[in-house]
């Protein structure tokens, strides 16, 4: 179990792997995530499931190299196995026919947005996808998203591909044009989700965001993933990961995500000094 069957590099620091996990693939619904450990001394990190194939018994994970675990994952080869993958976890996305659904994905957030987009499309919604990244090379899964969207608008911060600007500007453009929007689903870096909510709040559009707080067990046992929604403390792992974006305290989330900045750097440097990490081919370049 948990063997890597396929692996590819999607862009600088961004990787995708197809992993054998039949029970998770069978149970998974859009919006749910897994918690994995790479090796016996590894930490538990949550990652949203980007895709699955029930028949083949596989799940797809997409990750960006940010800390020791994600760098470690990039050094894993086809045939290697993860120590542990636990899931599916979290509440599934509420899928129904809302009318027109706009999916906004930033950077690596496009990966978890994909199964939700697919689910919304299958539920009969008119799906408009807005996908953005800093630059063209960081755009991921655009073809996948295109297949399950009625409209796709791509933007890059530097204008190297598609619309020159942020996803929020594209969304604002849709609103200004008078596009009828029934629901917005936004997944990406916290500042992006906060900015999207800044736009949708003014237009009074229901907005779902998927949060990525630090987690340990992922089953509601430890409370590491506390987030505040409408002034109430919720657990990201069991009450979420999706919440009413208009009510989320994003500033608190950002502060809590920075809680282990120091140790994370120590762990990453430590990893670079291990045989696995010290290769000349160190992913992303050291």
């Amino acid at each position: 179990m948990f063997e890597i069957l396929e692996k590819e590099r999607l862009g600088p620091g961004v990787n995708r792997a197809v992993i054998s996990a039949p029970e998770i693939a069978a149970a998974h619904k859009p919006g749910q995530f897994i918690i994995l450990r790479t090796h016996s001394e590894g930490e538990r990190i949550p990652l949203t499931i980007a895709d699955k194939d029930e028949k083949k018994g596989t799940i797809t994970l997409v990750w960006q190299e940010v800390g020791s675990t994600t760098y470690y994952m990039s050094t894993m080869c086809v045939g290697e196995k993860f120590q542990d993958i636990c899931g599916p976890l979290g509440k599934p996305t509420h899928l129904e026919k809302f009318g027109t659904v706009v999916g906004v994905g930033g950077g690596i957030g496009v990966a978890p947005l994909y199964p939700i987009t697919k689910g919304m499309h299958d539920a009969g919604n008119h799906v408009i996808s807005i996908i953005g990244a800093r630059t063209e090379g960081l755009l991921i899964m655009t073809e996948d998203i295109k297949k399950v969207s009625d409209e796709l608008i791509i933007s890059t911060d530097d204008g190297s591909f598609g619309v020159h600007g942020f996803v929020t500007q594209v969304l604002q453009g849709l609103i200004d044009k008078g596009t009828k929007i029934d629901l917005v689903v936004a997944i990406g870096p916290v500042p992006m989700m906060k900015a999207v909510v800044g736009v949708t709040k003014k237009a009074n559009l229901p907005t779902v965001v998927s949060l990525n707080p630090i987690m340990v067990d992922g089953t509601g046992m430890c409370g590491a993933c506390r987030v505040e929604v409408a002034g109430k403390t919720m657990f990201g792992c069991v009450d979420g990961p999706e919440f009413d974006g208009l009510q989320v305290d994003f500033d608190l989330l950002m502060k809590r995500l920075a809680m282990y900045k120091g140790p994370e750097l120590i762990a990453l440097n430590n990893f670079r000094e291990t045989p696995r990490g010290c290769q000349c081919t160190f992913p992303g370049g050291a």
Partner: protein, 475 residues
Amino acid sequence: MTDQQAKPAKKPKIPRQKMPEQNAIERAHNFYEVALGYENDLALLEASRCLQCKKPSCIKGCPVEVDIPDFIQLVKQGDYMGAAWKIKEKNSLPRIAGRVCPQESQCESKCVVGAKGKNEPCAIGRLERFVADYAAIHDDGKRPALPKPTGLKVGVVGSGPAGLTLAGALVKKGVAVTVFEALHELGGVLVYGIPEFRLPKAIVRSEVDELRNLGVEFKTNWVVGRIETVDDLLEKRKFDGVFIGSGAGAPLFLKIPGENLNGVYSANEFLTRANLMKAYKFPESDTPVAKGRRVIVFGGGNVAMDSARTALRLGAEESTIVYRRTMEELPARSEEVHHAIEEGVKFMLLNSPTEIVGNDSGWAVGVNLQKMQLGEPDASGRRRPVAIPGDTSTIECDTIIVAIGNGANPLVPTSTKNLETNKWGNIVADLETGRTSRDRIWAGGDIVTGAATVILAMGAGRKAALSMLDTFGIS
């Protein structure tokens, strides 16, 4: 090692034998086990204090009804292996029980030696630990023969003390058992909650391996309620019965301002990082934990003591328990409180936190406290703490651990159809049989009683196993 037999004393003039311990100053900075256990001579001496009562009352104090005088008699005869098997007839996890049971309020509180007032009770728990460790170290590979498989199979939700006990009791009767565990390690609270220095993880592993050798199947990373529900286990996987022992894993917070600041942990998170994830070895292990300089722990139970003592071992300069009543009312075992004090844990009694103060970057820097006094007894019989108006203070700290208890984790109860729960979300189950409102579903341990002790969970597992065997028509 000498296996010579001790001469039994006619009267218990021999004092209760102390168990050697690591020196308090040294151990406050390491994660090795605090108590070192008896050697043969101390065990023989202590065993000689047992009066071998004809109508033993100690057994009545034991939630799993271990045949205490019988096993001690075997110790007296130097048959430590036999003594261990005698215990294992009733208790599949003696190395664990011997370490974490509150014997002073159970078997030992009923011991006739102690009842006479002048003497302390026979140290049953220490003897249990001794023989169980002896049997593990001197394992000869021999096991009592298992009965023929009955063809029945039972699913167990959670690999904590309740589930493991039930699994042991059933597998010995020819019932196939599969245990489903959400975490990556087996043992539940025994591995994520109770610290290494009180219960080494190697011991939990050895007890689990023992069950595996008997034929119990374990599935880790398997969250019942998410991969499959309890109903799926019964219908799709055709289990003849399911036991829910998912524990009380949902940490409670005080709901005071500032509780979501960085540096504020639930005891579950703090201990899980330190124990299960081995944060004390960071960066050799990948999981970090705040190594606070000044650590404050809210609460007065065993978990609060574990948290405060773990913080010291992680390198805190100061580790302080803030509790709203007095030393008299501390719910923790006296031995744990004693150990904490020895190691340098401080106590701020009759104080209740009202707010956690933070800095601009979102980190906790202090706690506002309200001074309390004891008023009239409340429903629990303990005197209720009452605020003294105007008497408040602020203390500086960088790490706060909230150890005020756990609620019921709703994942399993709410995903099981028509399973009756009470207003706190605990599963309603008969305390004598573990039977729930649903046919073929049993439950026990903290998910039924709310947070309690390891041995009570083991007792619930044992009772549910007996009820299942009875239902299946196996004696």
